[in-house]
Each structure stands twice: as structure tokens, then as C-alpha cells.
């Protein structure tokens, strides 16, 4: 009994591999790796006059303020009261000032406040930063067109 010859059909993976590699390259290049200090849950307000972030700012202390006005250190650590916020700022100031490589005049406190928060809550964080000894403060905003209001 004679057997017929069997032919195997293998898909050509080269084109697929090329495509996958290109996608991989794209996502690797544009990947916006989450900076630990920048809380992505904060919905920043919009300001067309906000200027691009200074790249030469060597030392920054980013503080995130959620919509309830809490200073967010991590998911489980939030500072709600004025005393807690001031103490946190003082601790951070001490940490910076102990570092001999840091000039305190160059340290900037970056306030990332949620657009839905009360202005009073943002203000108390800025004031705490000032009371703790920080000299530079800047606010973060999304550079979009005005949305009326």
C-alpha cells in the first residue's frame, strides 16, 4: 500500500514579526514611564499661559493635592490637616538641607493640584511650603486651550 506524500504548510512569520517589532519599538519610545512623584490620578487644571517645564530644575519636591484637598504622598498616605502638611514640608526641607550637594535656593516645590480642589486647599500647601523655608514654588497645569468658565 503506497502512502501519498505529506506536505506541511508553515505560515510565514516574517511579516508578522516585522510588524510586531515596529509596534514594540513605538511603544518603547513613547512609553510615558510613571514618575513616582507625579500622581497620574490628579486632574490638572488648564492654563494656556503655562510655560514648558524647566529641564534644568535639578531639585524639585512634587506635591500632589487630590480633589478633597489632601496632600497625597502615596495611595495609603495622605496628609489632611494643616499641622500634618506643615510637618511634612518641614521634614522635606530638612532632608534637602542635609544634602551638601543641594543649594536650597535651587529647590522648587512643584504643586500639582487637582482642578476640582478648593483654592484654599492649594493655598495652604503653598503657605506651608513657605513656612517650612522653601523659596520657589510653581504650579503645574495642562497647556490646553481655554474651556470657558
Amino acid at each position: 500500500m503506497s502512502h501519498g506524500s505529506t506536505e506541511t504548510a508553515e505560515p510565514n512569520l516574517t511579516a508578522l514579526l516585522d510588524l510586531v517589532m515596529q509596534l514594540l519599538m513605538f511603544f518603547l519610545i513613547v512609553a510615558n514611564f510613571v514618575v513616582e512623584q507625579n500622581n497620574q490620578d490628579i486632574k490638572l487644571p488648564e492654563a494656556t499661559t503655562a510655560v514648558p517645564i524647566e529641564k534644568d530644575l535639578k531639585q524639585t519636591l512634587a506635591v500632589n493635592i487630590d480633589m478633597d484637598g489632601n496632600l497625597v504622598i502615596s495611595e495609603t498616605d495622605k496628609k489632611a490637616s494643616d499641622v500634618q502638611i506643615l510637618r511634612y514640608m518641614q521634614d522635606q526641607y530638612q532632608l534637602f538641607s542635609r544634602n551638601p550637594d543641594v543649594k536650597m535656593d535651587d529647590v522648587a516645590v512643584v504643586v500639582r493640584g487637582d482642578s476640582r480642589a478648593d483654592s484654599g486647599h492649594i493655598y495652604r500647601v503653598m503657605k506651608s511650603a513657605k513656612d517650612a523655608g522653601f523659596k520657589n514654588v510653581n504650579l503645574r497645569a495642562n497647556r490646553f486651550a481655554p474651556a470657558g468658565g
Partner: protein, 188 residues
Amino acid sequence: MFGKGKRSAPKEVEVDLNRVVTPMLDMTFQILFFLIMNFRLPTPEGQVDLLLPKEDEGQPLQQQEDKLDKDKKDEYRLRLEIYRNAGDDSQGTIRQMTWKLKEEQDAAPINEREPSNDKDEYNQKLSPKLYGLVVKLREYQPKEGGKQPTIKIEFDNKLRYSELLKVMDVLRKMKFTNVGVMPIPKGK
């Protein structure tokens, strides 16, 4: 001894390339999946510089670019009053803006204006309240290289932060650089 036997040709080794590629493709797909799942569009984040208040100046915060004019005649107060207990989306938004010289007692309300006839694209998108502010500020707008008036924004603590930024945005757009913010003083 030698040469008599037929020399056998080396065996051809077949390499199945498809099998070699498969694990790599699997791994690549996993990496791709991870990257796609964690992909976030980068936001165009920018900064708004501020200078913290001096000890002797009390509360106000102002921008870094220019020092405050010491001439108090050029110091204006822009007060932002808000909707309270509205129970809807307007809660915490600007109800009315008033304007006054620091030394004056009476503050004048800033009237709403329709921006539809303005040629400026930015102004056209503003709300009537903010456009009213633009019209008001035109009277005080400094000429190029001229003296900057000082404007302090007094805000209610419950004012939504986004609303405050919108007002600051209008002021910066109109080239006012001596702008400070402070809560409405208690009892006023």
C-alpha cells in the same frame, strides 16, 4: 587503507526557523501587551511660576517675573465671589468679580460681556464673565516696557482651583505680570 571507501557526504542539518522564532514571538507579544496596557498619552504639562510671600507681606503670593510696585496707587484688588450651597455644578464657581483700588473702600462689579464680536480667538472662547474681565483690564493694561500695576486676586477658600487658574490665565495672557493671590481677608 584510505581512499578505498566511498567518502560519505556530510549530512545536511535542517534548521526549522519557524520553531526558533516562536518563543521570541511569544515573548515579544507579552512585552507588547504589557506596554499597551501601561500606555498613557503624555499630557502637555506646563508650569506657572510663583513667588512665595515675604514675611512682612502677610498672605499674598505673586509671580516671580517682576517685583511688586511699591507705589500703592497702582495696586488693585480683584475679588472673586462664588456660588455657595448651589447644590449643582455651579457650586464653587465664580458668581461675581469686583474690582477696586486697594485704598478705596467701594468695589465695582465687573459686568459680563459677550465675546462673540472679539477678533481674538482666545477671547472668543471665554465665558461672558471672563470676557467682562478682559474688557475691564484693557483700561489698565500696561504698555510695552511700561510700569506694571499690581493686581492681587482675593479668592474665597471654596473657589474651585480650576476657576482661579482661569482668571490667572486671563491676566497672564494680557501681560499682567505683577499678580498675587490671597484668600479674602476675614471679616471683609
